[in-house]
Amino acid sequence: MTSHEVAFAVLAIVGLISALRMVTTKNMVHGALFLVITLAMVGGVYLLLAAEFVAWVQIVIYVGAIVVLLLFSLMLTRAPIGREALDNQQRGVAAVVAAGVLAGLLVIIQGAFSGTTFTAQPTRIAQVGYAIFRHFVAPFEVVSVLLLGALIGAIALARRDEP
């Protein structure tokens, strides 16, 4: 194993353990904080894959914005504590389905990519900007309109109706 792979494995294991704790924890605020760890580890994985811009976007948007949004909505709604309050009755079925999905994916990965290796080429932010604004302008504009629609929709949904 190269040092890259060792670092990758450490990040992946920490991220997966905190993801598991997130879906099994009894306290929702702890769940949100475990989500922070997982998202930060995914950002580290992007850095190891030499996708620098995606890594910083991950840190800024996910760890910075989305988790704060989640914590605020936990504050605005009731955040119950306890396994019965957070989990429904289908835990066993859910575990079976998740294990089936994982087994299927692992079989496919082992069959198709077991011997493939690659060396991550560092991508400069200028290349990403060039790709977005030269070749992906139309999707970029569509995403901008989607964000505007989501902004207006969220305000319209969450505000109180004044009499």
């Binding site: 997130m22 994985v45 991950q58 909505s73 957070l86 790709a131 989607l146 969450a158």
Partner: protein, 102 residues
């Protein structure tokens, strides 16, 4: 040098944990958090394949950025709906919200 199965296995496991969270949690906010896990797993896949296939246009990375944007929009709308439901029904448990269920 990295074996491609490392990021792919990480991503598959993260996705399976997200599936478990979506199916087993009854609090709507926890369901949204699990959906974020699944979107992150897909993003890891996109970036890994973008590097492994040496995409000249960086298609995988650009698409990962678009997925992050759409996830931000989705979580904003989702939390607005959750807060609206909480205001009307005093609960955010997805198994108690059956207004549209026949």
């Amino acid at each position: 040098m990295i074996h491609l199965w490392l990021p792919l296995t990480f991503s598959a496991t993260l996705f399976a944990i997200g599936v478990y969270g979506v199916l087993a949690r009854r609090n709507a906010i926890m369901v949204l958090m699990s959906i974020e896990l699944m979107l992150n797993a897909v993003n890891v896949n996109l970036v890994a394949f973008s590097q492994a296939l040496r995409s000249a246009l960086l298609t995988g990375q650009v698409f990962a950025l678009f997925v992050i944007t759409v996830a931000a929009a989705e979580i904003g709308i989702g939390l607005a709906i959750v807060i609206l439901i909480y205001r009307n029904r005093e609960t955010v448990n997805v198994d108690e919200i059956n207004l549209l269920k026949w």
